[in-house]
């Protein structure tokens, strides 16, 4: 049954892709949304099955690569982890599809269909990634996701900048993928299998060096896909795509792939302290770094993008400190509120006719009530204010971080404060105060249609209530998610902190977040930041000049090296050699064909001589071969 889940989006992709010129927009929307809805339904059934303790299903579909003893099958694995991800992907994915039918309605027919076929392919790839029962299948999905992100970011392909952004996303991802692939190869060469069950059962056959190497290489892949330092710069640029695509990338698919992969490989990571520490350090560094950048961004989508990077950092922090459940939980809640944020932002952008600069917004509260309220809920959720969902998940990670190393916790709380600050800055600048756009825009301001608001409302409910799936023991919760996932996340660290300490920690983090939120609200509701920033602000607004740094340190030297090879080595060296060979052959051709002089007598004479020579060669072949063997 599991195969149905990716099958529906695949069919949707094929239908919309092949018949994009003949289908009407309505039909395209129905096919696109219907496919994802169908797989959502199947996912729910699967989830209930697994939850009811149904047989853990490893479902072989067909033999994929069979070379001698080396076997890789096309296998799907439905267990607690993958079924949960299936729900997130298909559920959120469906809402985004639904939202897109309205958001993309201005596109022409065939482009509309193209958009939906890409979208379905995206969901398909992500499902493949999650469902695969071995690293190779995961890699197929992994690559598919990368491809689709490229296609969708460059969806408006007439804009050169957008194409550049698409390229950037693809290349950055490829760098990570190379690491991922090497990790898989390493694994295959050591264990001969890539199946999760076999790998985790045979971990003991690996040396510590192997495990560290493999996990680090796999983590490089995760860095690319999940936008961690140093491979994060593609994600903010990925805003070039349509807003629902951003929502899809940030919430349901793509960036969570890295988290999924590390969580899936928890049995490996927990055996390598080096890898765990690196994951945690990279995670917290990214969380802080991205948060600082987000504070000074003026593009509504850029703020959200950096907030995603930052939140992903939290997730990796969780993974690094062994709070796997917490990370997965945060993936889930983050999916809710980040999808909500993006869709809300999309709604705003839609209403303002593709205006993305916050400085030209403001006061939208009264024009777009539904968007406003849902957006506010999302902001509270992401800021980690109880009892909204973000609080529970983020706190679980922070508690685990404290248990591991208090420094992580301190940094995490600072990051949480910044999160609250920039989110409420965003909220205040956008929805409070006075409208600062043109009269024209003001005239057209309106609440978005139902296809947009309904997903917003659903997501708002989830963003508010999503936390209750895993209420910590301290609040008398049952930790349902924790128990549900425990068969898969065997390496979960059970952190031992006293309840009082935990309460204190929560209090501090919530206090910091609330403080930051209030400062931001008061500061920006009345006097939004309209001028160009100065000093440190300018550095932050320019994203610490990281793009420029990469350009100068990596891209430009590479280009120069390429130019050197192209102009010097190839022109004079290789071309000269190749042309020389060609010239020599042509010359010998001209000479050799003179042998063919058209005279029967010559031919027969040559034949007779060759017979004699062949005879001699035959009779003295022992001497001849011996001679050659002596030379060579």
């Amino acid at each position: 049954m599991a195969y149905l889940v990716p099958l529906f989006p695949l069919i949707g992709f094929l239908l919309n892709g092949v018949f994009r010129n003949s289908l009407s927009k309505g039909l395209v929307g129905i096919i696109g949304c219907g496919a994802v809805l169908a797989s959502f339904v199947v996912s729910v059934i699967l989830f209930l099955d697994v939850r009811a303790g149904g047989a853990l299903a490893v479902q072989p579909l067909y033999p994929f690569i069979h070379v001698a003893n080396f076997k890789i099958d096309f296998v799907f694995q439905v267990d607690q982890l993958s079924s949960l991800f299936l729900l997130i992907i298909t559920g959120i994915g469906f809402l985004i599809h639904l939202y897109s039918t309205s958001y993309m309605h201005d596109e022409t027919n065939d482009h509309f269909a193209r958009y939906f076929s890409y979208l379905n392919l995206f969901v398909f790839s992500m499902l493949l990634l999650v469902l695969g029962a071995n690293y190779v299948i995961m890699f197929i999905g992994w690559e598919g996701v990368g491809l689709c992100s490229y296609l969708l970011i460059g969806y408006w392909f007439k804009n050169t900048d957008y194409n550049k952004a698409a390229n950037k996303a693809f290349i950055m991802n490829r760098i990570g993928d190379a690491g991922f692939l090497l990790g898989i190869f390493w694994l295959l060469s050591k264990l001969g299998t890539a199946n999760y069950t076999d790998v985790f059962a045979n971990v003991s056959n690996l040396t510590p060096t192997d495990i560290t190497g493999i996990t680090l290489l796999l983590f490089i892949g995760a860095m690319g896909k999940s936008a961690q330092i140093p491979l994060y710069t593609w994600l903010p640029d990925a805003m070039a795509g349509p807003t629902p695509v951003s929502a899809l990338i940030h919430a349901a698919t793509m960036v969570t792939a890295g988290i999924y992969m590390v969580a899936r490989s928890n049995a490996l990571y927990s055996l390598s302290p080096i890898a765990e520490n690196l994951v945690a350090v990279i995670g917290i560094a990214t969380a802080l770094f991205a948060a600082t950048i987000a504070i000074k961004q003026n593009d509504i989508k850029k703020v959200l993008a950096y907030s995603t990077v930052s939140q992903l950092g939290y997730m990796f922090l969780g993974l690094g400190v062994g709070a796997y459940t917490g990370s997965v939980f945060h993936v889930m809640t983050h999916a809710f509120f980040k999808a909500l944020l993006f869709l809300g932002a999309g709604s705003v952008i839609h209403a303002l006719h593709h205006e993305q600069d916050m400085r030209n917004m403001g006061g939208l509260k009264k024009y777009m009530p539904v968007t406003h309220w849902t957006f506010l809920i999302a902001c509270i959720a992401i800021a980690g204010i109880p009892p909204f969902s973000g609080f529970f998940s983020k706190d679980e990670i922070l508690a685990a971080a404290y248990a591991k190393n208090p420094v992580y916790w301190v940094l995490g709380v600072i990051g949480a404060g910044m999160t609250a600050f920039y989110m409420f800055r965003l909220y205040a600048t956008t929805f409070l105060g006075q409208f600062r756009g043109t009269e024209e825009q003001k005239h057209h301001l309106h609440e978005s249609p139902a296809a947009i608001t309904i997903p917003l409302i659903i997501l708002a409910l989830l963003a508010f209530g999503g936390g209750f799936f895993n209420v910590p023991a301290i609040f008398g919760g049952g930790q349902q998610l924790h128990h549900y996932l425990s068969p898969v996340l065997t390496a979960e660290h059970e952190h031992e902190i006293a309840h009082s300490t935990e309460l204190m920690l929560m209090g501090v983090s919530v206090g910091v977040a609330l403080l930051a939120a209030i400062i931001a609200l008061t500061k920006y509701a009345r006097k939004p930041e309209l001028n160009e920033p100065e000093g440190l602000g300018k550095v932050l607004a320019n994203k610490w000049y990281i793009d420029e740094l990469y350009d100068n340190v990596i891209v430009n030297p590479l280009l120069a090296l390429g130019g050197f090879f192209k102009n010097v080595i190839e022109k004079s060296g290789i071309d000269g050699f190749v042309n020389g060979v060609g010239g020599f052959i042509q010359y010998s051709s001209r000479r050799l064909r003179l042998v063919q002089n058209g005279k029967v007598g010559t031919y027969i004479l040559l034949m007779i001589f060759s017979i004699l020579i062949l005879w001699l060669a035959f009779w003295y072949q022992a001497t001849i071969t011996g001679f050659f063997q002596k030379i060579f």
Partner: protein
């Protein structure tokens, strides 16, 4: 007579044939030299036929199967027939060429080269 006489005679005839092919330019004479080569082979085959009969009877105390060596003689017949067929075709080609260019010199027509 010892077999090597025959072998040397056949080899000499064969060499004469080859030499003729090499040094003559008249197509008909070249062809005659080829026929000489074939006939040297015929001679050789017949000689070998007798030789094998002799060897066989010597090995079997004077009684060899009557058919021993006859296959070579039959082979000679086939060579003669095939040679006749070749003659008819070859002469026809030479006549055709003669009718077109009034020469039987093999080097006269030399358009196909390089």
């Amino acid at each position: 007579m010892p077999i090597q006489y025959y072998i040397i005679l056949a080899a000499a005839l064969f060499c004469i044939g080859v030499t003729g092919v090499l040094i003559r330019r008249n197509a008909i004479i070249i062809f005659m030299c080829v026929e000489l080569m074939l006939n040297s082979v015929n001679l050789l085959l017949v000689a070998f036929s007798k030789m094998h009969y002799a060897i066989s009877s010597a090995n079997n105390k004077g009684t060899a199967a009557i058919t021993t060596g006859t296959d070579a003689q039959l082979f000679v017949f086939f060579i003669m027939v095939v040679a006749a067929a070749e003659v008819s075709v070859g002469l026809a080609i030479i006549v055709m060429m003669y009718r077109n260019v009034h020469s039987t010199d093999v080097n006269f027509l030399n358009r196909l080269k390089n």
